[in-house]
């Protein structure tokens, strides 16, 4: 693919992620913070988010497998997950966390388990999409193109 095509593909892909509710305006804030002096900022933050999230999902799975579930602990993990997903603009994941916290408050085990499933699904989905997006950006940059951020507002 030549650079122009890759750039168009990037614009379309990014717009679709916003349209489909995977990402929200906060992700654009991250993109705005990326420039020549910090060319990998988005990739770095996203990578921290992945590490953090995977740890939280492991902790959540384990916490919900206990004989006597500590709902406060579960809620604390979900609160953290909600925070980090909100900070990077991962909208679906954030909304899943909000629903999850409600079930924690009700101490509803079934509800919590269902939420965990949904959360995992949406997390892995947004993860693969963000990875694809970042790969595309890296290809554009490698081909000496620039990321056409201004086209997102059109």
């Amino acid at each position: 693919m030549e650079v122009g095509q890759m750039q168009r593909a990037w614009v379309e892909y990014t717009k679709s992620l916003f349209r489909e509710g995977f990402l929200d305006a906060q992700f654009q804030q991250l993109q705005l913070l990326q420039d020549e002096s910090n060319p990998d900022f988005v990739a770095e933050v996203v990578s921290l988010f992945f590490e953090d999230s995977e740890r939280l999902l492991t902790d959540l799975t384990s916490a919900l497998e206990q004989q006597n579930i500590d709902f406060k602990k579960v809620d604390a993990h979900v609160h953290q997950f909600k925070g980090s997903s909100s900070s990077i603009g991962a909208l679906r994941v954030k909304n899943d966390c909000i629903a999850f916290r409600n079930f924690c408050e009700e101490q509803n085990i079934e509800g919590c388990l269902r939420c965990l499933q949904q959360l995992k699904q949406d997390y892995y989905l947004v993860k693969s999409k963000l990875e694809a997006l970042i790969r595309l950006e890296q290809q554009i940059v490698a081909a000496c193109g620039t990321i056409p951020m201004e086209e997102l507002s059109s």
Binding site: Q29, L33, V45, L48, S86, S87
Partner: protein, 198 residues
């Protein structure tokens, strides 16, 4: 040379602070140029011992703020660091209240003289919800300290709870900011700091 003229922005920021004290929070958006705020010549800025002043070509002074950012979330630390650095701040991060206090010289050994770290920190920005010492508890410790109490403390939280906001402002917090943080929040913050000092 492009300067952001703060007069208009600052009056909005003052309204914001007043609104905070009355327990609601409005979100203002400012356009952000990514340039450090330039101050008119002659303005007396007390940045604490170690703040640097740079004179730009237009004769205006810019001041580099040294900010200590405290947050248990790695993602949020990275974000706030980038936001502040993009606004020409020097940034030190800490992952919890204890580490923050150690950096400021209020660790287990109490020091009676000004620490180098203390004189250089112009602002502390901390998350509210942290395991162990909360941001509120950290705020109290700072305001109780004779050496640290003059340093403005900003509290951040993902939850917009008026009683929480009021509690922090009453304890002496400079400002309360809602997460997730954006560039416009940092502009607001700098304006608020300048407005309160002049």
């Amino acid at each position: 040379m492009f300067h952001i003229h703060c007069a208009g922005l600052c009056s909005s920021a003052s309204v914001l602070v007043i609104c905070c004290k009355q327990s609601f929070y409005y979100s203002f958006s400012y356009s952000y140029t990514g340039l450090p705020l330039a101050l008119p010549r002659g303005e007396n800025m007390d940045g604490g011992g170690g703040s640097r002043e740079n004179v730009t070509a237009g004769g205006a002074y810019t001041e580099e703020l040294h900010v200590l950012a405290v947050d248990d979330s790695l993602v949020d630390r990275k974000l706030v660091e980038r936001l502040l650095k993009n606004s020409s701040c020097k940034v030190t991060t800490a992952e919890n209240g204890l580490r923050a206090l150690e950096y400021l010289g209020l660790g287990d050994e109490k020091r009676t003289s000004l620490e180098d770290n203390v004189s250089k920190v112009n602002l502390i920005i901390t998350d509210y919800c942290m395991p162990g010492m909360t941001g509120y508890e950290l705020l109290k410790k700072i305001k109780e300290s004779s050496i640290l109490k003059e340093i403005p403390v900003v509290i951040m939280s993902s939850e917009n709870i008026p009683t929480r906001i009021n509690k922090c402002l009453e304890e002496g917090a400079q400002m309360f900011m809602l997460k997730p943080l954006k560039q416009s929040d940092v502009v607001k913050l700098r304006c608020n700091l300048m407005n309160c000092r002049s």
